[in-house]
Symmetry: C2
Subunit: 181 residues, 2 copies
């Protein structure tokens, strides 16, 4: 009875912000949700069909000249979304390839380990730069979001920045510790 997977809620949530096509949903994940959520077409289209069958979303038929199919959330879909929002998020299993490699690298040459740390640091510096750019575009007021939702978007950006800053600092600390070995 209950929805099986998280993807269904992700799609329901995206459609609650505004109606759109499967393609729009993918776009939304890639542009506003990177680092938070990802979906691929192989998942989106079957899920849209399931959600429609369950009456949680519906198609908008509008002088359908092209092959586009726009969906919007239904009242029942909104209810289902609100219920999910109330459930505490379950801690998800983590799999960090970097830390796994790092832990197993203790017998590798020091230079190799320092190189791994440098790359990891550069990766986070690049991410931090893109977060800052996103923040700047919010500052410039070119996004079409409401003031309230902007507070939430900024908060999510801040969390990404805090994470990156922490990892950059960690790389510094750790490089120093490894260098001293």
């Amino acid at each position: 009875m209950a929805l099986k997977n998280k993807s269904m809620y992700a799609i329901l949530g995206i459609l609650h912000i505004g109606p759109g096509t499967g393609y729009d949903i993918k776009k939304y994940c890639d542009t506003v949700l990177p680092g938070i959520w990802n979906e691929n077409f192989g998942h989106i289209y079957p899920t849209l069909r399931m959600l429609t069958e369950q009456g949680l979303i519906e198609t908008i038929d509008e002088e359908n000249t092209t092959g586009k199919i726009r969906y919007r959330i239904t009242a029942r879909g909104q209810e289902e979304l609100d219920g999910w929002l109330t459930d505490p998020p379950q801690p998800q299993p983590v799999r960090s390839e970097f830390f796994l490699k790092f832990l197993f690298a203790s017998d590798q040459p020091k230079e190799k380990i320092l190189g791994m740390l440098r790359e990891y640091q550069e990766y986070h510096e690049a991410r931090l730069a893109t977060y800052r750019a996103m923040e700047a575009s919010l500052d410039a007021g070119i996004s079409g979001v409401t003031a309230k939702r902007e507070v939430f978007l900024r908060a999510v950006l801040r969390s990404g920045m805090i994470g990156c800053e922490g990892m950059i600092r960690w790389c510094d600390e750790t490089s120093a510790a490894i260098g001293a070995l």
Copy 2:
């Protein structure tokens, strides 16, 4: 030819630290690798068989009274592991249920949102406490790891702590911002 999945390397890496059974590998993931890597039996046993077939690990036969099967890494397995360690880790797709909910919660009552943040903060405080406990047990010198590997374990613990501290700070900041709405 090349190994398909990350689990194979995780298992290879764990066995490179020391020989063990499938059960030991699961234990290792649950105790020293939580927050970094997880495996389940349904994956471990078939993978051990594949790794054996590929000659990357081998069984240790020792007066096998019980049903235990202990594995150790082979020279070829060590080579394969070293090669993987040299490849840069690929950025993994992220899916954070909490942030997804948080972003979709902007239309929910303020109290509900503050509650979500409070729970998220408590969760990170609890994790921080376990990391500190793990650090204390390293300080006490009761772990049987080498001095060098201990440096790496401490570094991984530090990264977990930095992450938790960052998220706790973020919850404070964000609760204040939401409260002011």
